[in-house]
């Protein structure tokens, strides 16, 4: 893979992460690879997951996230590398011996068993006393608020209820590590948003460590404490949702998580506290240093919601610093707009006909300076909102 995408930027002005408390590392993945014939599904992945954390593997289809999850569950044998759970190498432990449980995509509930029997199944495998199994099944049903449904078969439940049974079944054995495979993928949009919050609340109340796999960036952002963005079997970036969104380290991540406008250009001023990038559309002032060199080809990335639109060019007083006056602005024509209620998205045309994407909050009910399709306007942004990426 051509690594077009390694960041070399943004160390100076980023707030240093708050001194992290000493975490217990629960899961340690060392140099883990998986090959299928001549395809490398997972390519030397290194990863640590802390106790009590919800960790998301995020990527498109075929990026290796599911294979990685299946190796953790024990359904695939690693081609090389190790998996340590609390310091113990479990790379080749059979799936049925691992203290790890999984909530399957579309749940994989046993259709011939009732809800209670589904939840009890794992406990029976541990040969727990009958009374204890009953107690734990009862507790689990209470946790997911399905006590009234204990005797139903899975097909008699709604999608959201099935999802909760699957959760109860995977938590019943009190696993050290819970794996979630596209936990909300089978639910419709409205239910998904509501369930996200409930699911995180339950997982946090139980305190179980989770590794989830998803292709839905919103799901990863809202649920996970940390996210690893994967592509072609490798981890491209690892960090908190905030880090990944505000400080993407590559065009791939910037584009995969949310949307982004890229201005290609060259570094013309490279100072310790600021950088200027010359692009065909605007001179971009970046109010932090980068680790690049003068003359280097780069892209200035700006998120749609960080761009302002106004009929007149911004006044110097509106700028974050006087140094930015005349920078970070470009004349545009409003091509189309879509009103979403709380915000409006605009597609605006640059001088050379390229479209960029801008979103504006609709904070006031009546905006006197409302833009219309076809209006000539100015797009501008702050120097601190620019992320510089290699090309």
């Amino acid at each position: 893979m051509a690594l077009t995408a390694f960041a070399y930027t943004l160390t100076m002005s980023m707030p240093a992460p708050a001194a992290t408390p000493a975490h217990d590392v629960l899961l340690d993945i060392v140099n883990l690879s998986k090959n299928f014939d001549d395809i490398t599904a997972v390519d030397s992945v290194n990863l640590s997951v802390n106790s009590g954390e919800i960790f998301a593997l995020l990527g498109g289809s075929g990026c290796g996230k599911s294979t990685l999850l299946r190796m953790l569950a024990g359904f695939e044998t690693p081609s090389s590398g190790q998996i340590y759970l609390q310091g113990r190498d479990i790379s080749h432990m059979p799936a049925y011996e691992r203290p790890i449980n999984m909530m399957f995509q579309s749940y994989a509930l046993f259709p011939h068993m009732t809800v209670a029997q589904n939840i009890a199944f794992g406990l029976e495998q541990d040969q727990l006393p009958k009374a204890e199994i009953e107690q734990r099944v009862h507790d689990m049903l209470q946790l997911v608020q399905l006590k009234a449904y204990a005797k139903r078969k899975p097909h008699q439940l709604s999608g959201g209820q099935q999802q909760r049974v699957a959760l109860a079944r995977s938590l019943a054995k009190r696993p050290r590590l819970l794996l979630l495979d596209e936990p909300l993928g089978a639910l419709d949009k409205k239910l998904r948003e509501q369930t996200q919050i409930e699911l995180v609340a339950i997982l946090k109340s139980v305190g179980v460590t989770c590794v989830m796999v998803t292709h839905d960036q919103e799901e990863a952002m809202t649920m996970a404490d940390r996210i690893a963005v994967m592509d072609q079997g490798r981890i491209i970036q690892l960090g908190t949702p905030h880090d990944i969104y505000e400080t993407p380290n590559s065009r791939f991540v910037a584009d995969f998580i949310g949307s982004v406008n890229l201005f290609d250009g060259q570094v013309v001023v490279d100072e310790a506290d600021h950088v200027v990038i010359d692009t065909p559309h605007a001179r971009v002032y970046v109010s932090h240093g980068i680790t690049g060199t003068q003359g280097m080809p780069v892209s200035a990335a700006v998120r749609p919601e960080k761009i302002c639109l106004s009929l007149a060019p911004p006044l110097a007083a509106e700028r974050a610093s006087p140094a930015e006056d005349g920078f970070n602005q470009t004349p545009v024509t409003v091509q189309s707009m879509a009103y979403f209620g709380s915000f409006t998205t605009y597609h605006v045309k640059l001088a050379d006909g390229r479209l960029i994407h801008v979103t504006q909050q609709n904070a006031a009910r009546h905006d006197e300076h409302k833009l219309q399709t076809g209006d000539r306007a100015w797009a501008w942004w702050d120097g601190s909102d620019v992320v510089v990426l290699t090309r």
């Binding site: 359904f75 790890i100 011939h112």
Partner: protein
């Protein structure tokens, strides 16, 4: 120059569709029903009627059920044939032995067929068609020829005995032919594919994630098999068992050719009653009771199927 006409043709088809939509399904379902009614239900009623009739003194033909005597319609139903069936040890033993042979064949087919269908369904998708072909291969040869071939294998001077004698493993030929053993082998051999096919169809579409889920919850492979695979393939097991059991109960050719004179089979008793004793009334009663014996498990099968449909 068809292009300008095309829309017109479509309109015509659309206009014709209501008639087709109304009658098409009825005909598709009605034809086989008509066929079955004419060639199965009607003859069955005739057989039922004969079983309740009295044979003529001459021994040829039977008396009518409905008679016109002194200006009165007299319907005489003779159930003595059925009473005789129940009182005669021979008939009871024959039914029992037929059911036992059929049951044994079903169990053996299940024991042989299940692992076979299981590994067939779990084999790489690329070699499955080839393996399926092997299951179907026997159907390319006549059923009778294949039974004859078993004669050649199992006979006292057949291939197996000759081989064992030549190897010095036995001194005198094993009596395999014309025993319950040869009969059972014939039944299992002929009906095994009828067990394998529905089992395969069931196992191949099983959701493998359910097996992974069971493993994930701590079940060892054997437990996964008994607690998930087998219960989920229940409808396949029932279908395969019915397909083997039902024809085996009334089987005539295999007992006649491989079973010898000492094995009791209802199919052969039927043949004898019809063609040796010429007692059509008795033979019909034997046939009716056999059908009832088969309908019972069929009804059970249908109930299970209905339950399954309710469950998935």
């Amino acid at each position: 120059m068809n292009t300008p006409n095309a829309p017109v043709t479509q309109v015509q088809v659309a206009q014709r569709t209501p008639w087709l939509a109304a009658w098409g399904p009825r005909m598709v379902i009605g034809l086989p029903f008509g066929w079955l009614g004419l060639l199965f239900l009607l003859p069955f009623v005739v057989v039922l009627k004969i079983s309740l009739s009295e044979m003529n003194e001459s021994g040829i033909g039977y008396k009518d059920l409905v008679d016109w005597q002194d200006g009165l319609v007299v319907i005489s139903l003779r159930y003595s044939n059925y009473l005789f069936l129940l009182s005669d040890k021979l008939y009871l033993m024959t039914y029992l032995s037929s059911l036992m042979y059929a049951l044994t064949a079903t169990v053996l087919c299940l024991l042989l067929g299940y692992p076979f269908a299981y590994f067939l369904a779990r084999s790489p998708a690329s070699i499955r068609p080839g393996l399926m072909m092997l299951v179907m291969l026997p159907f390319w040869t006549s059923f009778l020829l294949r039974i004859y071939a078993w004669k050649g294998l199992l006979d006292n001077n057949g291939l197996i005995n000759q081989l064992l004698l030549a190897l010095g493993l036995i001194d005198t030929p094993l009596a395999m032919m014309n025993t319950p053993f040869s009969l059972q082998i014939g039944m299992v051999y002929v009906y095994l594919p009828f067990m394998v096919l529905p089992l395969y169809a069931n196992l191949v579409k099983m959701d493998l994630r359910l097996l992974e889920a069971a493993t994930d919850l701590g079940a060892k492979p054997w437990t996964v098999f008994w607690r998930v695979t087998v219960p989920l393939s229940r409808s396949g097991i029932v279908a395969g068992s019915m397909l083997v059991f039902i024809p085996c109960v009334g089987e005539y050719v295999i007992p006649a050719m491989l079973g010898g004179p000492n094995t009791l089979n209802i199919g052969r008793v039927l043949w004898d009653e019809f063609f040796s004793n010429n007692d059509w009334a008795m033979a019909s009663a034997v046939a009716i009771v056999m059908v009832l014996l088969i309908i019972a498990p069929m009804a059970w099968f249908n109930r299970i199927q209905a339950q399954q449909r309710g469950a998935t």
